[in-house]
Amino acid sequence: MTKEERIKKRYNAEKRFKLYGITSVVLAILFVVFLIHVIFSKGSSAFQKTTINVELNFTLDSLYLDPNPSKDDLENVEYYDLAIESLLKVYQVNGLKEEKALINLFSPDYEYEVRDFLIKNPEFINKKTILKLTASDDIDQLHKGNYPRHLPEDRRRINDFQLMMYDKLVEQNKIDKIFNNYLFQKGDSRNPELAGIGGALVGSFFTIIITLLLSFPIAIFASIYLEEFAPKNRVTDFIEININNLAAVPSIVFGLLGLGILLSTFDLPRSTPLVAGITLALMTLPRIIIPCRASLKAVPPSIREGALAVGASKVQSVMHHVVPLAIPGTLSGTIIGLAQALGETAPLILIGMVAFVVDIPSIPTDPSASLPVQVYLWSEQAERGFVEKTSATIMILLSFLITLNFIAVYLRQKFERKW
């Protein structure tokens, strides 16, 4: 082989190597784009809900109210009659069967929607108004184009009569798509049109706060001690190896720990953010200690020696000089650890977080869901409307994770010092 041939061969090898690299990067990007496309195309419609315009006449008569009712009176009124009568005026129907078909176009909560409107706007008493009432999930999915209408009637969830009513309502511009406030306000529900992630958001918030409160101080003290004060001997080596091992332990093992110790021994309440927070704190601890130690290690010894040289004690040199310099690294490590905890599902299954919880929790010892668990729960539901809800929840969860990671990167870039 001549010299030129050998050089050519080496150049070719280099080109091939680059090509492999580019292919892997392109493939990875394609996968991510595909994933995001699937989630967005399925989930984006969940941020809107379909409503049907209903004219309501809040006469005192129809509500069985005395003139000038108090707020209590308004809350105690039966809104059923008024709501039903107004619904039935939306479209002319004959007979009980058709009435039922008409009422089924609405979500089962119509009565409460009417009530909430009047309690919020008492000035509408004795006045007429047009209210946008939430449509049932079948109509919702049909209006969003997610449900095929050209099927024979026996294979459709909406019958021919309802379909005809829907077309007439569309013609009269009585059907609208508005922002889906329920998605953020309400807890779980078996009716997709009424289900929201409000409870899961609060649950995740409580969980993450408890995880932060428990794991951050412990991790900081543990890493400062191990890095700055602890003697280097077999015991600390052993501890170090174990921290690294713990960080790699599958999260479900921590779930078992939570089940065995927190629920069985300490008798903490099942399905609560309290237990979830403690369990996830145990899981996150080693994952925070490792970056904290790394950022402490990155502070040059000259800083410590300088402080000691001017007469600072060991504690002073660490707390006044080393730790402040290491803070950007520790914070970004903590945030990434918390982001992992936020997306964790497996340990929560074992401590009973996979539960149907309608009420939004007000304290950390109330039963609650969390965002990833809500995704898991909704993905199992039979109703069609939950498909878009599942994807929408994934979108919200992803946006939280991306924001957290972005903050971590920003802190590191902005405050990190190079020596």
């Binding site: 909560d109 409460y112 449900y147 095929p148 099927l151 026996d154 294979r155 459709r156 969830r157 529900s189 078996r190 009716n191 428990l214 412990i218 003290f221 543990a222 927190l262 300490f266 008798d267 903490l268 309440p269 099942r270 399905s271 309290l274 403690i278 009973g352 996979v354 539960a355 149907f356 919880v357 309608v358 009420d359 010892t365 109330d366 039963p367 993905s379 199992e380 539901q381 039979a382 109703e383 069609r384």
Partner: protein, 341 residues
């Protein structure tokens, strides 16, 4: 050491707080098949405003019984759902832990649907054909052999010449338990049963054992996933509760079993061959301790919920026949307990 002390005292404080707080919310665990119905009742119950909405955890029938029978007290669930009746072993566990008074409520019936894509032609199976398609070992010419059938037509020439492909629920599922006892054990041929016994094995257990050579695929506890897979593959079959068939009838349809297709009437009078009752069990000792249990039982057994025109029937629960309903309603109102001996 300080850190550990702090952690332990922190936990102890929380444990103390949570023990002092009485629970004011009903806790329900148990079957994933009853879960869709129980959640609807719970939600409706919560909207009446007097009590908090019960919290329901889907743990599977067996897991639910274990939690339910673990003891009396607010740290244990009040109600467990079940897609089969309580077993004597579970009764013994309950008794051991002081759960001696249990109220049994039958909520309705469910028919396990054996379904496939709407794009494939209607089909009819017998239980024996289904057993032969799914079993681990079958009898061929008087001998037990590992399941040799690859195509449906290998089992019976009247069936289509297509590869056998069945999505099955995992062994933890109550639906799989019911499928085993209603289809696998019943469909198991006499020859196979006697051969199993001749080899010193338990016929019931061996008949229910499913093949693991790739023709029966475990699809996880997620029935929606099974529905999606059936919709995209016209040759695949799968089984799940009737409510999934009702909710997805634009995508999938049910095969007939012994000539009968699942329907409300057929499941109610058990003329559909794979129908079964669904239950929930209430701990009587908790009534009066956790508020709302009695009212919840009343709401669940009301005609508005369980009746033939109730809202549970709309999502696929098959209502009880009227005489059976009356008995259950009385049991719920009078808090009649079952014998756990």
């Amino acid at each position: 050491m300080k850190i550990i002390k702090v952690l332990i005292s922190f936990l102890a404080v929380f444990a103390f707080i949570s023990n002092v707080q009485a629970r004011d919310q009903i806790k329900i665990v148990g079957s994933s098949t009853v879960y869709p119905y129980a959640t609807v009742v719970a939600e409706t119950f919560g909207k009446t405003g007097k009590f908090k909405t019960p919290v329901i955890e889907s743990t599977g029938t067996g897991g639910g019984m274990k939690l339910f029978c673990a003891g009396v007290g607010t740290n244990h669930p009040d109600i467990t759902n079940a897609s089969r009746a309580i077993k004597s072993k579970e009764k013994a566990l309950c008794e051991k832990n002081g759960v001696t008074e249990i109220i049994e409520i039958v909520v309705g019936n469910d028919g396990i649907s054996f379904a496939h894509s709407v794009n494939s032609p209607d089909i009819d199976f017998s239980k024996e054909q289904l057993w032969r398609a799914l079993a681990h070992e079958v009898d061929v010419d008087g001998k037990l052999v590992a399941n040799p059938y690859k195509k449906w037509s290998d089992i019976d020439s009247s069936l289509p010449s297509k590869k056998i492909e069945i999505l099955i629920a995992p062994p933890t599922s109550g639906t799989r338990d019911a499928w085993n006892s209603l289809v696998m054990v019943k469909g198991c041929s006499k020859a196979a049963k006697s051969l199993f016994e001749a080899n010193g094995k338990k016929a019931k257990k061996e008949c229910a054992k499913m093949r693991e050579d790739g023709y029966a695929v475990e699809a996880g506890e997620n029935d929606t996933l099974i529905v999606q897979k059936l919709a995209s593959n016209p040759d695949a079959y799968g089984f799940f509760g009737y409510s999934y068939l009702v909710a997805n009838k634009d995508k999938i349809k049910a095969a007939a079993i012994n000539g009968v297709k699942p329907s409300l009437e057929g499941i109610q009078d058990y003329s559909y061959p794979i129908a079964r009752p669904l239950f929930f069990y209430v701990k009587k000792a908790h009534i009066g301790v956790v508020p709302g249990i009695e009212e919840f039982m009343k709401a669940f057994t009301s005609k508005k919920a369980m009746g033939p025109r109730g809202y549970l029937a709309e999502i696929g629960l098959v209502p009880l026949a009227s005489d059976k309903y009356k008995a259950i309603r009385t049991a719920a109102l009078k808090l009649e307990t079952i014998s756990i001996k």
